[in-house]
Symmetry: C2
Subunit: 301 residues, 2 copies
Amino acid sequence: MKLTILGCHSATPRVDTHPTSQVLEIKNNIFLIDCGEGTQVQLRKNRVKFSRIKHIFISHLHGDHFFGLVGLISTFRLLTRETDLHVYGPKGIKDVITLQLKLGNSWTDYKLIFHELTSKESELIYEDDKVTVHTIPLKHRIYTNGFLFREKLGERKLDLNATLNANIDKSYYRKLKQGFDVVNEDGKLILNADVTKDPAKPKSYAYCSDTAYTETIIPIIKNSDVLYHESTFLEKHAHLSNPTKHSSAIDAATIAQKAEVGQLVLGHYSTRYDDISGFKEEAQTVFENVELAEAGKVFTF
Amino acid sequence: MKLTILGCHSATPRVDTHPTSQVLEIKNNIFLIDCGEGTQVQLRKNRVKFSRIKHIFISHLHGDHFFGLVGLISTFRLLTRETDLHVYGPKGIKDVITLQLKLGNSWTDYKLIFHELTSKESELIYEDDKVTVHTIPLKHRIYTNGFLFREKLGERKLDLNATLNANIDKSYYRKLKQGFDVVNEDGKLILNADVTKDPAKPKSYAYCSDTAYTETIIPIIKNSDVLYHESTFLEKHAHLSNPTKHSSAIDAATIAQKAEVGQLVLGHYSTRYDDISGFKEEAQTVFENVELAEAGKVFTF
């Protein structure tokens, strides 16, 4: 998986900080996660090809996570897009986008498909032959979901030398990759385990923003390779977390530690902080493997 | 008047070009005209104080002229604005902004007052003691207005030497400024014209975007000091003007010449042109006093 941060600050877009948006690439699939104002310019800056975006996931309908969506949808139209676009987000997202297209008499020529979310339980909302996406119900001021992206287990890998030595006809290679034993050219049974290797361990990425500290997400995100968890506040402002339903760096790290994830990526910093290094320092008092999201930064895992 | 261009390209925001927005300052009043995506960042870059914006005029509901409005309104809320905000724009603008604030449960604490426009005739939509604003009905794919900003004639100016020599009591200065004759300390009638000078000629600014070539606007904008007229296309693409209801540089210059304005400012360039110098060259074949709008450029008149 390749995660590109387009923006990772809360509240208002500013000259050098951008509201939330991320691009997640999984085996040539591109998923856009949240879409604050200015996301389309950030996509250009980071050279993400617009036509490769086919699925957009919106966590909730606060402006810093979705005010850039209607502009992106409109730009796709101006670029004469023909490919379907799927948008996953809270109920209401279809109405508000549709109303804006209607007022501008700017209907898309491509097919725009909304998947409106209402469930308060985690649910499967996307699946193809390589990836599943489940919602992660979060605890915020309005209805909000995080998203859990999981690779599927791939096919077994041929041990090419062993396969050749075992004198197996090429037409059986498909079966081998699928885990079957096969009969070779000499009529002998070849055990799958002798000529194949385990596929790469499937990776998973959990995106949790915006949310107050809530342990209800732990069973859902358990053992994820990477967890992006919002951390709006440092400890000195932690008293603001509960009233605003946001988290501190310590909150995020506590969730990472309890969910036993591989790595924690922090973001959604309050714009009150000019220097974000304190987020990492505070989180690392609880959980060691912490990285800071920054616009333009790429995480590969 | 001081006009600051925040963005002057059509269609989509890009890394180095910005959709339409302008700030017009008239005697300490700040008017924001149109508000494409990214306007709030452009306001920051150009150091316009957010709290000074009390009136926003939206020409039409195409994204490149209004997708930045809801974000700006939300940012005002986050900055704990208390001052009323007036928004002037086509019918529908209230619904679409309100729906977004409702979905985010992010109602403004300050008063948000919409003035929805439906008239196809020019009408007075704003007036204070210094300025009037009239609509300029334009010819575009959807309902669109330009805006004509006119200073009111100020008070007469005292010729201080003449006033002192005429031995006039200071309590009469107000009357003099208002144009009255007065009686001096010696009981002699002093003619207003002998001790005052004409006030500065009131300035006017006509904003016309987006529009096809239409002579119906000429009587409204006649003799304006500065005309901003959209020029989306160069001559080589002038055949696109009619189907898209936009103008070429020559169209804009022809309107400027027929309306006998003082200066023409061009903008709303199609993003297909990397070099905009051709707009000025083509317009100047028809009308001499042409300037090119560019983001960050300031015109004082």
